[in-house]
């Protein structure tokens, strides 16, 4: 039965793509909702407090409550606002953010498509999201959102340049624009790109923070500054769409960073046979999660919560058992490592938000144009020189670089 479904899908690639897209959208929406929850919890722990605790055990149903609240809010469109543009602007942001996921490889064969100009597609489509911000600020018919939108878009455009040039450094090593091939190249070289391009990595991370309007570059949307940002006039579900777009962007740039610099779906030291036992990490991680859930649940005062948590822990152990079966283990390897790395990045985003003050706008632009771009340019030049020099000196290395 599974075979016939598989063959049907193979025969009709359009339906296969549609099924993949639907699954991806649902999974992403879930991840983004729980990313908001994770942010609130991690930020709370950094600040010596607990975060959401009342809605569901340990506040786990908070995103559900937030979603319902935003859906039920009154839909306000300001008088004099350009109605259709006002309605369209958040949609543009969300669509641009989601579309880029089409070319991101989650594992060796888990991707929607693999265009051979993957990175170009990513840079182009993610830049379209800026339209959503500008149009949102413009159509609000109020000078505070307009100023906020202009500042935000100027910031985004500046840091796109720096991010693009950091990526060029990676391209010089990988010899290909396709995302899948970049990861495969890292596997061939036996090392993640971060060790070969550390400066590009740091530049890309900083540009990532600025691209997604996160601390320390979040002046355009900070509440304690004068202009409350481009989404002042938005409320209810439209605001939720902007919010969704921002968090999806966060996940997106993390995925891109992981693919380009951290070896995508590869496990650490992918070519070293000795560390092959790392294959069992998914099962071990699930058992660890089960132990953690059990420990959390046993501390609760409410009996029902204890049973629920114990049940969840048992479920995790069963799942670990299922995963330990070799074919399942092999299938889940790639996506597990990808997921762990993206999670580390997202955690870092939230960690920075809890630690740093924010840059003033002119200082932000200063950092972008006078520090990031020259550094990125220098990195590109240096990489090109090194590559030429190494390939000239050691012909064997040429094949290693070009593969």
């Amino acid at each position: 039965m599974a075979q016939s479904v598989f063959q049907f899908l193979q025969a009709h690639p359009l339906i296969l793509a549609t099924v993949k897209i639907v699954i991806l959208l649902l999974v992403l929406a879930g991840i983004v909702a729980y990313l908001v929850y994770m942010e609130r919890k991690v930020l709370a722990f950094i600040q010596a407090r607990l975060g959401p605790m009342r809605v569901g055990p340990w506040g786990l149903l908070q995103p559900v409550a937030d979603g319902i609240k935003l859906l039920l809010k009154e839909d306000i469109i300001p008088a004099g606002a350009d109605k259709w543009v006002f309605l369209l602007a958040p949609v543009i942001s969300v669509v641009a953010a989601f579309t880029v996921f089409a070319v991101i490889p989650f594992a060796g064969n888990f991707f929607i498509t693999d265009v051979n100009i993957g990175i170009l597609f990513i840079l182009a489509v993610s830049s379209l999201g800026i339209y959503g911000i500008i149009l949102g600020g413009w159509s609000s018919n109020s000078h505070y959102p307009l100023l906020g939108a202009l500042r935000a878009s100027a910031q985004l455009v500046s840091y796109e340049v720096a991010a693009g040039m950091a990526v060029v450094g990676v391209l010089l090593i990988s010899n290909s624009l396709s995302m899948v091939e970049i990861v495969q190249n890292q596997q061939k070289m036996g090392t993640w790109n971060i060790f070969l391009q550390p400066v590009a990595f740091v530049i890309y991370v900083i540009a990532m923070l600025a691209e997604t309007n996160r601390n320390p570059f979040d002046l355009p949307e900070a509440e304690s500054e004068l202009t409350a940002g481009f989404h002042t006039e938005y409320s209810g579900f439209r605001f939720a769409l902007y919010f969704l777009a921002e968090y999806t962007n966060m996940v997106l740039v993390s995925c891109i960073a992981v693919t380009l610099f951290l070896g995508g779906w590869l496990r650490p030291f992918p070519n070293v046979r000795v560390l092959d036992f790392l294959r069992y990490m998914p099962a071990v991680a699930l058992i660890g999660a089960a132990a953690f859930i059990l420990w959390l649940g046993l501390k609760s005062r409410v009996a029902a919560e204890r049973y629920v948590f114990a049940g969840l822990a048992v479920l995790c152990v069963l799942l670990a058992g299922v995963i330990a079966i070799p074919p399942v283990l092999a299938a889940i390897q790639g996506i597990f490592w990808f997921f762990v790395k993206v999670l580390a990045f997202l955690y870092a985003f939230i960690w920075y938000r809890g630690t740093f003050p924010r840059y003033r706008y002119d200082q932000l632009m200063n950092v972008g144009w006078r520090v990031m771009i020259p550094l990125a340019l220098a990195n590109v030049i240096l990489t090109a020189i090194l590559r030429y020099w190494l390939s000239g000196r050691h012909p064997a290395a040429l094949t290693a670089w070009v593969g």
Binding site: I46, A48, R49, L50, M53, R301, T355
Partner: protein, 152 residues
Amino acid sequence: MGIKDLLRKIFLVDLLKGLRLTFSYQRPSATYTEQYPLVRPLVAERYRGAPRLNNNPETGETLCIACNLCALACPETLIVVGWERTEDRKKKLTTFTYDLSRCMFCGLCEDACPVDALELTQDFEIAHYNREGMIWDREMLEQGPQPTRYTR
């Protein structure tokens, strides 16, 4: 700038030190939250909370001698003491009205009372649904507020 300072600047040492501090704060023992109403706060002994008219523990009669000193001491003049003269020309307390909505909980009435009849207790849950409920009569003052205890 010396070479050490330059290296510190390039390698973002100051930012990393801050990051290390906030990372270390995520251990559960560093959480400072008190989950009210599941966990009730410990209030000091001298806490100036809701007022109470004390009764003599043996006889059950009120300790108040209707001297009116608390009403005179109050900056907001929100205490009204009603009394009547008994047969042997002694003052007996009849009504005692305390307007909690204007009270500052400054403790001057408690300081003024010569017989420790009026006391500001440790009760802080004195919210009410309407304004009339904030004006306490003698009975309310003797019993104290009875807040609902939540367990979940």
